[in-house]
């Protein structure tokens, strides 16, 4: 992965990190996602917006194959990351998820110490050869997540004892600790108050330097604030996708316009 800060404007980039082609998702008999084609650029923030039940979270979860953990869920079509089809039988979903991290709607720190929460991923993937390296990973992950100053003196306290906003940043730090290339965020601020939300948004903006971020959000202001590109989903269909500025100022589709002007959803 290229650790160098990207000098170009994210919106001007033409390379592709993730490309989805004719993706269909079924829950039992329900056809939840229909014919989604999208290209996601590296080192940028892409926001998925749309009304509840439109399939944006479901589509997000196909990118790291989290839907595999649901019995009745079936995915068709192809999703490529760096040109490699992640639904190829040769791909190990467990390895994939180390490369494509995920942050969930509700902060879900493990009922362990702050240190153990961050060290969880590096430990199972054997990323640290000794305690010192593990300490380094933990402290650098917490620093990147902007949490280090707040917790450096209480790393052995339970992660569940922190405030909601801190818990969510802990979950982001936990995802960073396995050095993924892509981070998926499923409404990461919906359980947080405005101040905690602002901190997380600031963090997302900083993380853009090193990671490809896909974020599902219910708040259109949030999408406008943090993302470079925006995709609007409606009833399982990707209605419109483009630069965030275009989507919010000059939507091509009537449904997009109705949604962002608050006529439904």
């Amino acid at each position: 992965m290229n650790e160098m800060p990207n000098i170009e404007q994210a919106t001007d980039m033409t390379e592709t990190k993730i490309s989805a082609n004719k993706v269909q998702v079924y829950y039992g008999d329900t056809h939840a996602i229909k014919d989604v084609d999208i290209e996601i650029q590296p080192r940028s923030v892409t926001a998925f917006i749309g009304p509840s039940g439109c399939g944006k979270s479901t589509f997000l979860r196909t990118i790291n194959r989290m839907n595999d953990t649901i019995d009745i869920c079936r995915v068709e079509g192809s999703i490529r990351i760096d040109g490699e089809d992640i639904y190829d039988p040769k791909v190990d979903p467990v390895q994939l998820r180390a490369k494509v991290g995920m942050v969930f709607q509700k902060p879900n720190p493990f009922p362990k110490s702050i240190y153990d929460n961050i060290a969880y991923g590096p430990r199972i993937h054997g990323l640290a050869r000794n305690k010192a390296e593990l300490d380094d990973i933990v402290s650098s992950s917490l620093q990147k997540a902007g949490l280090w100053e707040e917790v450096k003196n209480r790393l052995d306290e339970p992660g569940t004892g922190m405030s909601g906003g801190q818990q969510q940043r802990l979950c982001i730090a936990r995802a960073i600790a396995v050095s993924p290339e892509v981070i998926l965020m499923d409404e990461p601020c919906s359980a947080l108050d405005p101040i905690a939300t602002a901190k997380v948004e600031e963090l997302i903006d900083e993380l853009r330097e090193n990671f490809t971020i896909v974020i599902v959000t219910h708040s259109m202001q949030q999408a406008a604030r943090v993302s470079q590109r925006t995709a609007f989903f409606h009833l399982g269909i990707l209605v419109e996708e483009g630069s965030t500025q275009d989507i919010f100022t000059n939507p091509k589709d009537k449904r997009t316009q109705d949604y962002i002007t608050g006529r439904f959803g």
Binding site: R97, F104, N108, P111, I124, C171, V178
Partner: protein, 490 residues
């Protein structure tokens, strides 16, 4: 009048009260339902409650108190000289009650008249003969004091029953009238009934608690009695268990250590079987099995819990014992003498405990929030890593609770031990030797011709008390572990 009819009469008064109360409420509101504070049925229920509940309470108290009064009265009639050697006042009183019942039956059968049965001058030899002729079993000759006491007993019992009937019916009627009197449109019958329901529920809860206290007290008193006859130090630290039923327990050695050793050894083997198998089965069912497998496998596993323990005992005796014997017995390795052994009982008991461990653990694992699993899978953990690092630590307090519950059952189990482990109290490390447990010995001390005044029988209560304290201690430890190591999640 028999108890059955008395209860029926009280209930009839309550039903009549219900109907009258309802009607009175309606008429007091001039037939307009909306003018009443409560629904008409609440007024009826109020009257019925006031008729039935106090009357039935009085009935229960009376039935409990009357025998005490009668016993103390007739006990005073029996002089010490009438109690022969080797007998006790309790036995003579039992004789009196038997004689009284014999007289009752004889009168009912027409062998003698009521006047004759009550006649204070009746010759006791004549009465004995007549009772025997009437087919009423009289163990020995009825003596003069016993006959007088029996006659007195009958008089007191009859009078008691008569007054009880009067009092109970009176209380029921007064209660009904009280309920009817306060019935009018403004009366808050609904609130009163609510209070009544509360009282009834409290009574039910108290009965459960009081019963526990009662059981504990009966154990305590008999245990104290035992320690008066047998030194406590010998009981708790004695290494030999050899009760001698002859000579009134004088030469018995009643050391609990061999029994406790057997209990813990067998329980340990049982848990060593049940905990890994049960826990792994629970993890499979909760985390790996598809919904179809789960729908079939879980009930099947729980069927194991429904098998009566005596059937497990037969399984141990007829199948597991001989099987182990063929491998470890004289034809095999040669360390097992007979089919009954610690291993036999322990293995079978372990099988019995599997569903307890697995079913409880399964529920607890399912209660771990899905968000924990998602978090772990999202970081690229496999299923078994997730189970080991996230789910088991989060479910640990509950699982420890399940294991300790299983341990309590293992310690209290009797039938499998009786059939599978033998009856020899022995201190040995060899799991292929016969041993026995506290519960099995309680059974053998109390069955047969037990004389409740001898240490050989009373020791059963001390054993029971020890067992009670041990399981109580286990539960306290379990609570402590659960509180201390709980990994909080929400």
């Amino acid at each position: 009048m028999s108890l059955f009819w008395l209860i029926l009469i009280v209930l009839a008064i309550a039903v009549v009260g219900y109907v009258l109360g309802r009607a009175r409420a309606m008429s007091s509101a001039g037939g307009v339902r909306s003018a009443l504070h409560s629904l008409p049925s609440y007024y009826g229920a109020n009257v019925a409650m006031k008729a039935a509940v106090p009357a039935l309470l009085l009935l229960i108290v009376w039935l409990l108190a009357q025998p005490f009064y009668v016993n103390s009265d007739i006990s005073a009639m029996i002089p010490d000289s009438a109690i022969s050697d080797g007998s006790s006042r309790g036995l003579v009183l039992a004789e009196v009650r038997r004689a009284a019942r014999g007289l009752d039956n004889a009168v009912a059968a027409g062998a003698m008249t009521e006047e004759f049965a009550r006649n204070a001058r009746a010759d006791f030899n004549d009465i004995t003969v007549r009772l025997k002729e009437a087919g009423q079993i009289v163990t020995s000759e009825i003596t003069q004091p016993v006959l007088r006491a029996a006659q007195r007993y009958r008089v007191l019992a009859a009078a008691g029953n008569f007054y009880m009937t009067i009092a109970v019916i009176l209380v029921a009627i007064v209660g009904a009238l009280w309920g009817l009197r306060e019935t009018n449109a403004q009366f808050r019958a609904r609130n009163t009934v609510e209070k009544g329901v509360r009282v009834i529920l409290i009574a039910a809860a108290s009965i459960a608690i009081l019963t526990t206290i009662g059981i504990l007290l009966s154990l305590v008193f008999n245990t104290v009695e035992f320690f008066k006859l047998y030194p406590a130090a010998d009981f708790f630290f004695g290494l030999t268990w050899s009760p001698s039923f002859s000579g009134r327990g004088g030469s018995s050695e009643l050391g609990i250590i061999p029994l406790l050793w057997g209990t813990f050894y067998i329980s340990f083997v049982a848990l060593a079987v049940a905990v890994p198998i049960g826990l792994f089965a629970a993890i499979y069912l909760a985390e790996y099995a598809g919904s179809k497998v789960r729908a079939v496998a879980k009930p099947l596993l729980e069927i194991l819990a429904g098998i009566p323990t005596i059937v497990y005992g037969l399984f141990a005796l007829l199948t597991v014992g001989p099987l182990l014997l063929s491998v470890f017995g004289d034809n095999g390795i040669g360390i097992m003498k007979a089919g009954t052994a610690v291993m036999t009982a322990g293995l079978v008991m372990g099988v019995m405990l599997i569903p307890f461990v697995s079913s409880l653990s399964d529920d607890i694992i399912n209660a771990v929030p899905q968000a924990m699993r998602d978090g772990s899978y999202g970081l690229g953990a496999t299923k078994s890593e997730t189970v080991k690092n996230v789910i088991l630590p989060a479910a640990l307090p509950g699982i420890v609770g399940a294991i300790l519950l299983a341990a309590s059952r293992a310690i209290g189990e009797t039938m499998i031990v009786v059939l599978g482990a033998g009856a020899a109290a022995r201190l040995s490390l060899n799991p292929f030797e016969a041993m026995t447990t506290v519960t099995a010995k309680i059974v053998s001390q109390l069955t047969g011709d037990a004389d409740f005044a001898s240490p050989v029988a009373l020791v059963a209560f001390a054993l029971g008390m020890t067992l009670f304290v041990v399981t109580l201690g286990l539960n306290i430890v379990a609570l402590y572990i659960v509180r201390k190591y709980r990994e909080q999640y929400d």
